[in-house]
């Protein structure tokens, strides 16, 4: 424990971040450059699908034991002006797992989109590292869904990309004996702008991970991590070109447009949450909550 506020000790924070990004060993990974192509030329005629979800659980706090999940899917055929947006929602009882419900909805939307042509984008990791902290039944359900998705991608030859904007994964760092650092931080200064790392197969941990590979893509700043079924390894360059082009046409120039839009449609805004509260009205609202909001 240090005396003083976090602002007074900000120097220590800076030092910790610097240590995380410092490599004392060499990363065993091959880096390849990408040509500076017009993203619209790359994407012309390419069909992409973005899926994202969100959830809403404060009704529990209100004394109403129901939560809500919302997921969106956007399909765009670049260059043609064709697109289709769909939004789905469901309500979840307090006994059910809200996060699992959301995940199941996202997986279902991706499964339905497996057409052998579209590039499917999922906002998040295909590796479910967090499930080890969950109870066995729920963890098994997560793994069952993801395994099914990965298999379906291979069976239908539909490219599937899990995009992680800020990854703190340590796969490469661990393999090179520097487990206190994280891959993206270590790669930040090694990778040139517009480059990617050759695919690396994930380590088997819970049982299905060796069916997934990952690469890092650096446009500018910290590299993003992309995860995909291992069968896509042979065509990684085309996959990375598509991800790069998608990212460059996004409003920030560094995050895939299709996920940006999927997120926009899936998000439950504060205004919507407020409205839902009003729709549910006051019946059954907990007195504790009322005492907090009424001065």
């Amino acid at each position: 424990m240090r005396r003083g506020s976090i602002f007074e000790n900000v120097g220590m924070l800076k030092e910790m971040v610097r240590e995380l990004e410092q490599a004392n060993g060499e990363l065993d990974v091959e880096i390849k450059g990408l040509q500076d192509e017009n993203p619209l030329r790359i994407l012309d005629g390419v069909r992409v699908v973005g899926v994202d979800g969100s959830e809403f659980s404060p009704l529990r706090e209100l004394g109403i034991p129901v939560g809500a999940v919302q997921a969106s899917r956007i399909k765009v055929t670049h260059g043609s002006g064709e697109y289709h947006v769909e939004i789905f929602s469901d309500f979840v009882h307090i006994e059910e797992n809200l996060n699992l419900k959301r995940f199941a909805m996202e997986i279902e939307l991706l499964m339905e989109s497996m057409d052998g042509e579209s590039y499917l984008f999922y906002d998040g990791s295909l590796l479910l590292s967090f499930v080890s902290e969950l109870n066995t039944k729920i963890a098994r359900e997560y793994m069952k869904l993801m395994t099914k998705l990965i298999k379906e991608s291979e069976n239908t030859s539909t490219p599937l990309i899990g995009y992680i904007d800020r990854s703190y994964a340590k796969d490469l760092a661990r393999r090179c004996g520097i487990p206190n650092s994280f891959d993206a931080g270590l790669l930040k200064d090694i990778m040139p702008v517009m480059s990617y790392t050759q695919p690396v197969r994930c380590d088997k941990n819970l049982g299905y991970e060796d069916a997934i590979s990952f690469s890092y893509l650096k446009i500018v700043g910290l590299p993003s991590r992309i995860e995909f079924p291992a069968w896509m390894e042979d065509d990684i360059q085309e996959c990375v070109r598509i991800v790069l082009a998608e990212s460059r046409i996004g409003s920030t120039g560094n995050y895939p447009y299709i996920l940006e839009r999927a997120h926009k449609y899936a998000a439950i805004t504060a205004k919507e949450k407020d409205t839902m509260m009003r729709v549910v009205k006051s019946s059954g609202v907990s007195f504790k909550w009322i005492s907090k909001v009424i001065p």
């Binding site: 619209l40 956007i74 260059g79 064709e82 697109y83 046409i249 409003s251 120039g253 409205t275």
Partner: protein, 167 residues
């Protein structure tokens, strides 16, 4: 079409393709479209990189504009004063000419079956051009009441002149 905002006891917004002067029904409430606006399209944030045609072809969903109709609650289905507001998310439907006629020809309010009890409220809350448009429409839908509606129209026109200090 759905209610997207409730701004006061009688005023609310609806997202959808509506026109000024449209009569709408929202549950048991009858409303009138008194204004239209569009929300700033999202493609503005992409314009620095691409032209509008490229955005339409490659990022088509950002070109879509949200059309918002500003509405006023006139009455309920029995032409009585409303006692509630619409709620966000409520479905909204446009009334047909026949439905507008039936609404205004209910017996019991003014003896002869024709009444516009909300008109006074409307004068306070909507532009005179909207009221004029409403009366013209009622003249077309309920021609047998044209004489009475003509008198009301004269009153409205007088009010316009009064505002312009032409009386």
């Amino acid at each position: 079409m759905k209610v997207v905002a409730v701004k006061g006891f009688r005023e609310f917004d609806v997202e959808g393709e509506l026109q000024i002067g449209d009569f709408i029904r929202c549950g048991d409430l009858i409303g009138l479209v008194k204004g239209l606006r569009i929300e700033e399209p999202e493609f503005v944030s992409y314009l620095s990189k691409y032209d509008v045609d490229e955005i339409k072809r490659f990022m088509p969903d950002v070109v879509e504009v949200k059309k918002i109709a500003e509405c006023i609650t006139l009455c309920d289905l029995k032409l009585s004063d409303p006692v509630r507001t619409p709620e966000i998310g409520d479905d909204v439907v446009v009334l047909s000419d026949d439905e507008i006629r039936s609404l205004h020809m209910q017996s019991g309010q003014s003896g002869n079956g024709f009444s516009i009890p909300y008109l006074l409220q409307l004068v306070d809350r909507a532009d005179i051009s909207v009221i004029k448009r409403l009366l013209e429409r009622l003249m077309r839908i309920i021609p047998e009441e044209k004489e009475l509606l003509d008198i009301l129209m004269c009153e409205v026109e007088y009010a316009i002149m009064k505002k312009m200090q032409l009386r």
